[in-house]
């Protein structure tokens, strides 16, 4: 990690100095990496001609899909663009100083004390071997006395809203929840009282309720007079928070302006696409991806008329927690899924969603209750084996669900084989399935690890469809994907209903996704189903307190 060489483009003309409120002024920022070139040998600019201005007390949001260059841009601001980075700019001022000739030592003075940075990977951005105090203290004045240090750390922790700060400061990151870790990280970023706070996707890994809290915390930082750069791939997250927004696409800024203006009257296609791709109440019954084919059919027959294919009756599962205590991961869970129906299961992390999914697929034996699939008692392995392929699972981590040695063809063949014995026919069917999930034919002999995330998820779906299952359980199939890719997959799932008449249990922590897709909704909280009903009904008129708090925390565009 060497300090990036910053050089000014030749014909740069300096703009007149702006008001002292301007913390950062960047014009024509370009970043490329030594190891990455275009096929013709020229530099590929990961960040290309970016202009950026940060003002004291204002929140500047940067949005764009994965790989669009958001993080690189942000990291350039502290001179840590990455190994082998080449940074050029027509103008690069920070706190009124031209940083073009900064040495590593100069940059170091800037980091922490003038610019606080909250990294993207919240859960792994704190050293697991250091206590919270040790971590935060690293950004403090080293001459501070021990008690002074402890006091300051406690103050900071309290400031970011961590309960029992006196206790927590002596704990290790793994002893904190994700939200608390994110707060501690912010505390460490503001320890040196920087004028500028950069938060790179501070809420990606968090539950909606916690996400809301963290966003509020960041807004508070701006209110205190700091400049804030908030990076997110999700427009709705920044919609109500930011003052200005930059939309990045393939290293370029495609649109910028006050946040309401950009959302309400997007001028660039890409922005429009991004906005359209956000699932939620408004998008129900609509295609999310603009380039997707139009909807195949719309549902006609009322679902409640049809006999249920999955019946979950009073299912419970308990684990032995530490100290021998019993921990109920699922309790008294009952619901039915009918053919052609999408049942959405929402709930925060740890509420027991995956546990239910595993029980329904038969991968986990319930401690209480029973699951009946198509009239067969599903918890016993004997009856399940007799009806192999009736239930299929689409996992969140699709890569992990593929045998690493198998090609796409072999993966899909695993299920197709259950229905089609003949090899030639089978290959034809596999090709069909690939086509159905819109995978290019040349992916067939590739290994999944050489595919993109969206493509992998498609393989996973194709595999699940291979044996024409009557029940499809999707456990967070889109939570690792970009909004635009997510949009395509959600459209695809929507099509499945029309094509296959399978019963779908769709699990997500994202209420927007469930609201967009599901017919019926189950809300899970601490292993129990706290609310159920028709999707629109539940989300517009929640009766349960928990559901209500969940919904109010969801950011809307």
């Amino acid at each position: 990690m060497t300090a990036p060489l910053l050089s000014r483009d030749g014909d740069a003309t300096r703009l007149p100095d702006q008001a002292a409120d301007t913390l950062v002024t960047i014009r024509g920022l370009k970043v490329s990496f030594d190891g990455v070139r275009r096929l013709d040998g020229t530099h590929h600019h990961v960040v290309d001609d970016v202009d950026l201005t940060v003002t004291r007390g204002k929140i500047l949001a940067v949005v764009g899909e994965s790989g669009s260059g958001k993080s690189v841009t942000a990291r350039t601001l502290v001179g840590l663009a990455g190994t082998g980075a080449r940074v050029t700019a027509r103008r690069f001022d920070m706190f009124g100083e031209d940083v073009t000739n900064y040495t590593e030592r100069d940059w170091r003075r800037l980091r922490g004390r003038r610019v606080g940075f909250v990294l993207q990977d919240a859960l792994t951005s704190l050293d697991p071997l250091k206590t919270i105090e040790q971590e935060i203290a690293e950004g403090l004045d080293p001459t501070l006395s021990k008690t002074g240090r402890a006091e300051r750390v406690t103050e900071l922790l309290a400031a970011v809203g961590i309960p029992e700060p006196q206790e927590r400061r002596r704990q290790y990151p793994h002893q904190l929840s994700g939200g608390q870790r994110q707060r501690a990280l912010i505390a460490s970023a503001i320890a040196g009282d920087p004028g500028l706070l950069i938060a790179d996707e501070p809420t990606t890994a968090l539950d909606v309720t916690i996400q809301a809290q963290i966003l509020e915390l960041i807004a508070g930082m701006a209110r205190q007079g700091r400049g804030v750069i908030l990076i997110s791939h999700d427009l709705s997250v920044v919609a109500n928070l930011a003052d200005e927004v930059l939309v990045m696409h393939e290293g370029r800024i495609v649109e910028s302006g006050p946040v309401r203006q950009v959302i309400d009257t997007p001028s660039h296609d890409y922005t429009r696409q991004l906005i359209a791709a956000v699932p939620g109440a408004h998008s129900r019954g609509r295609r999310l991806a603009l380039e997707s084919a139009p909807r195949v059919t719309t549902r006609t027959a009322p679902l409640s008329d049809r006999p249920a294919v999955v019946e979950v009756n009073g299912v419970g599962k308990w684990y032995r927690a530490r100290g021998g205590r019993e921990f109920r991961a699922a309790e008294q869970v009952s619901f039915v899924v009918r053919p052609g129906e999408i049942v959405g299961l929402v709930g925060e992390s740890g509420s027991g969603k995956s546990t239910v999914a595993k029980i329904v697929t038969g991968l986990l034996r319930p401690d209480a209750g029973e699951v009946v699939v198509a009239g067969t008692e599903w918890s016993s392995s004997r009856t399940r084996r007799a009806h192999l392929g009736l239930v299929q699972l689409i996992a969140q981590d699709s890569l992990g669900s593929f045998d690493p040695r198998y090609t796409v063809r072999e993966i899909i063949a695993e299920t197709v084989r259950l229905r089609i014995r003949d090899r030639r026919q089978r290959n034809r069917r596999i090709a069909e399935l690939l086509d159905l999930v819109r995978l290019p034919a040349d992916t067939i002999d590739r290994l999944p690890r050489h595919l993109s995330g969206g493509q992998r998820q498609r393989v996973s779906i194709a595999r699940a469809l291979g044996c024409e299952p009557r029940v499809l359980v999707c456990d967070e199939p889109v939570s690792a994907l970009d909004v635009s890719v997510q949009a395509q997959i959600l459209d695809l799932v929507d099509d499945l209903r029309a094509h296959t008449d399978a019963a779908l249990l769709f699990i997500s922590h994202d209420i927007g996704v469930i609201h967009h897709l599901a017919d019926t909704v189950l809300v899970m909280h601490r292993g129990r189903i706290v609310e159920r009903g028709a999707a629109h009904e539940v989300f517009t008129n929640p009766t349960d307190d928990y559901t209500r708090s969940l919904i109010s925390a969801v950011p809307v565009l």
Partner: protein, 341 residues
């Protein structure tokens, strides 16, 4: 090769720990104590089990091997009188189970048996000045190896260039050269050629230097590679970047964060290192004419002095198990995440 590598907790576990974390601070402290107590007890019990099994294996080796145990225990010079003595000592005419219990009784009282070849109790061969000598050598070499490895690894981590390539070759060479060969070369060059370090004369420390390096260099080479890899891996982690974002320097980053992380894989090697040291002494002591356990081993194997060989094997196993147990327990200190497991 560590005994039952400690399970690393998955990152997600911590998140679900939330509800448990809501309990009071006092309860948390006592839960922590209870965890440490249970963990330590587990490790100690498993160590005791391994030692018991190792001792039983030694017993079986004598009794189940083809041939007459008395003949085997005698060594090379076999006489009827000696046979009678051995039969009496080992109670060879009694049922096997009685012998086994006796054997354990003796082991527990610290009696490793009697060498009929050297005509002294095995304890005397092992635990006299020999053990002290070997301990001096191995401890010196271990410290040297760790020091060398850490310094080299920290200085060379995440540097690229001809220097690092050369260093890599040097490390590979030290890790791949037969240790007796290394010892002879070191002696030729530094003792006889340059006359820097004596082999047998001089102070104890002077005498330790060459054998110490012979033992330490291959180990240091391997350790340095592991530690460097650990450091480099750690430097790529988000927490390292976060630390840089606070304005610390690279040197500070390596020292404060990365080194400790690299110790986790490096300590896993502790068992392997102990094994390497113990066997290394066998060869190094031979080369340098140092007395010690290693030399006693070779002599005993040559003389078919089975009681001594078994005694040494048991002692080595004990040292090995002890060190590994200590290392396992140290893990809790190095890696606080373990407590969440």
């Amino acid at each position: 090769m560590s005994i039952a590598p400690p399970q690393r907790p998955a990152e997600v576990d911590a998140e679900h720990a939330e509800s448990i974390l809501q309990v009071s601070a006092a309860a948390r402290v006592s839960a922590h104590r209870r965890f440490v107590a249970r963990y330590v007890t587990e490790k100690v019990l498993s160590a005791v089990f391994v030692l018991w099994a190792a001792a039983s294996l030694s017993f079986l080796a004598v009794h189940l091997a083809p041939g007459d145990p008395a003949l085997m225990l005698m060594g090379e010079v076999k006489t009827p009188e000696l046979r009678a003595t051995i039969e009496a000592d080992w109670g060879l005419d009694e049922p096997l189970i009685t012998q086994y219990l006796d054997y354990f009784g003796r082991l527990l009282s610290g009696d490793l048996g009697y060498s009929y070849v050297q005509r002294v109790p095995v304890n005397e061969i092992l635990f006299g000045p020999r053990l002290l000598n070997s301990a001096k050598l191995t401890v010196f070499a271990a410290l040297l190896a760790v020091l060398l490895a850490v310094v080299v690894a920290v200085l060379s981590a995440s540097r690229r260039g001809p220097g690092s390539a050369l260093l890599n070759i040097v490390e590979l060479t030290f890790a791949s050269v037969p240790s007796f060969w290394l010892g002879l070369v070191l002696i030729s060059v530094f003792a006889f050629g340059l006359g820097w370090f004596p082999v047998t004369a001089g102070s104890e420390l002077q005498k330790l230097i060459l054998p110490g390096f012979t033992l330490a260099l291959p180990l240091a080479a391997v350790l340095a590679q592991v530690i460097r890899e650990g450091i480099e891996r750690s430097l790529e982690q988000p927490y390292s970047v976060t630390a840089l974002m606070r304005g610390i320097s690279h040197a500070q980053l390596k020292r404060r964060h990365a080194l400790r992380h690299s110790l986790i894989p490096a300590t896993t090697l502790a068992g392997w290192s102990v094994g390497g040291m113990l066997t290394g002494t066998v060869i190094v002591e031979q080369v340098f004419g140092r007395s010690g356990i290693g030399q006693a081993t070779v002599t005993a194997v040559r003389q078919q002095d089975i009681p001594v060989v078994l005694g040494i094997a048991l002692a080595a196993a004990t040292i090995y198990v002890l060190v590994n147990t200590v290392v396992d327990i140290l893990y809790v200190w190095i890696d606080p995440r373990l407590k969440a497991a």
